[in-house]
Symmetry: C2
Subunit: 347 residues, 2 copies
């Protein structure tokens, strides 16, 4: 059946997260302890596609929870321009579900050779990425068979938040992870709201997805799922950058998806929502709806009571469902995106 792999893996996420929390906590604590002994002055994260969206989340985590400056690596510096930045002492995380993204493997090898402490975050302990890095953190997602990554994305987010919470010795945040499977389970209930929405949006060919801070990663990952699965030209923009030009594209009934869970970004996002409403955008809000009355055309509810830092793990779920249903509504097979294979070679 069309999309049966994709929907099975979306629904498997609570179980996959439980497995991860069970199996990887010890290696994570061990690594965090060792990193606490010699805190890195700077962190770089190297990834592509979905993994790069998880990396973006990690970048915010390291800066906000630990005060360690973090950046996203550009592997082409190594693979195309054949230079190796001086990374002695830095922490370099390479993220790849398959562990076979060749430019990520090469970047991690180069970083290690220049003196960085390297960590692979991957679903495959026998992958080249795991072999390249000093340490490996595993996703425990089981084989991901659909081309569009879903369960490995939420697993990557969880590995990152567990690692950083452990490094910060933030016991409350660590404990909150135990409730993640249940929150994701409840987020899957959004299916009832998302299915009719996908029918109403089935004519949509382009849209913007926006958020800020931790959930900018959610916006990027949602836009990627919408592109690869539903063939919608969806672009993600931080709500701050949206105001610096791109908002000009938003005309009457132009669809904008905004991820606005409770937390520090909410006041800002409400002001951006007002600007979008003033330009008559068709706003789909992923959030508890309160505070946005009269601004959103549709509200996709997400469970309340989640610490802001863990909202990306949950808020992406209804958007995975939206991309899936939208693909079906438009006559595409979510399991087989046009022109893609599971492991991407970057040439």
């Amino acid at each position: 059946m069309r999309g049966s792999l994709t929907i099975a893996e979306i629904r498997e996420q609570p179980a996959a997260l439980s497995r991860l929390l069970e199996a990887e906590r010890r290696p994570l604590l061990r690594l965090a302890r060792s990193l606490r002994r010699r805190p890195p002055p700077v962190v770089f994260l190297a990834a592509r596609g979905t993994s790069d969206n998880a990396a973006l989340y990690g970048h915010y985590l390291f800066e906000t929870l630990l005060g360690i400056p973090a950046g996203l690596a550009s592997p082409s510096v190594v693979t195309i321009y054949r230079t190796v930045p001086r990374l002695r002492g830095a922490l370099v995380l390479g993220l790849s579900q398959s562990g076979r993204s060749s430019d990520i493997v090469r970047y991690v090898e180069a970083a290690r050779s220049s003196g960085a402490r390297t960590v692979a975050i991957t679903n495959d302990p026998r992958s080249p990425l795991a072999a390249a890095a000093h340490d490996t953190l595993l996703l425990h997602s089981g084989v991901e068979r659909s081309v569009a990554a879903t369960k490995t994305y939420t697993a990557q987010l969880a590995v990152l938040s567990l690692l950083v919470a452990s490094m910060a010795e933030d016991r409350r945040l660590l404990d909150a992870h135990d409730r993640l499977p249940r929150w994701v389970e409840r987020a899957l209930d959004a299916d009832d709201a998302v299915r009719p929405l996908s029918l109403r949006l089935s004519g949509v060919r382009r849209c913007l997805v926006t958020s800020r801070g931790y959930n900018f990663a959610t916006a990027r990952e949602a836009a990627l799922k919408l592109k690869e699965t539903a063939q919608v030209a969806a672009e993600a923009l931080s709500s701050a950058d949206l105001l610096h030009g791109p908002i000009a594209v938003v005309g009457r009934r132009f669809p904008v998806i905004m991820i606005a869970p409770p937390g520090r970004t909410r006041g800002h996002l409400r002001r951006v929502a007002r600007r979008l409403a003033a330009q008559s955008a068709r706003l789909v809000l992923v959030a508890p709806g309160r505070g946005f009355e009269g601004l959103a055309h549709t509200v996709i509810p997400v469970p309340a009571g989640i610490p802001e830092i863990l909202t990306p793990h949950v808020a992406i779920v209804p958007l995975q469902l939206l991309a899936y249903h939208l693909a079906l509504a438009r006559g595409f097979d979510p399991d087989r995106p046009r022109g893609l294979r599971k492991v991407t070679r970057s040439f």
Copy 2:
């Protein structure tokens, strides 16, 4: 007349670059000398919108020419999450044409308070950004009156390439800057090719823009101009990321603009162009056409013989013209993008 400010400023670029080369070389050399004495271990660049695209170019420059790891800053870490990353010893560049982007000013202030060496790159010596940073490099662009930035973008690129070339003591690259005004002058000749293209593309509502390495910045800036000026939902993707999912959106006659000047990225980009051709994309190539025979529908020529590092300063020019003509063809005023003002408040 519609768009008269924008087109005047696009055409002013050779003169604006000449002014910059004349007036700012000494302060640049002085700052570079001081930075060479104590090379920063890491660089962070903070910017929004067009300036952030220049910052992306700067990020590649620091890594490839100097081997100094570089990252793009997320100002929301400071302005929303109220944390200050530990940036002691780091070089932090804040880029803003007006010098009034409030979150960039606050990020630079925070970086300075945490011990970073800070540099403002701005068009206004009396701006809050210039006041916040240890040093200021000026664009000498004259007042930019159109909302969409053009001449200040190429000036920002030139300040960055001059600074990094000076730090690297790369005399050949430094000297090559003297020919920039002439190359940009010749790039303006693309107007003849761009005008008819804009008529053919006037029905386009969405497209992708792609490149890699130094010219990924060009792709991002072109996509921004197309969105703000011509209201086309144009998304920029690095050609490596394009293969990790988004290429699924490319169907028959889907417009893709590729910037492929001579240089190290060209072999890779040719392979990506073949993939796009296999999916029947409508490929617009900004490049000397050779090597892409039978792959591109349209070739927008750029002058030959430019060192790869300086191609972004030139390759953006025909794309500024394209956004301008496309806006006129679609009945919009390029001088007054919908919903925008010259100085953006991020709230």
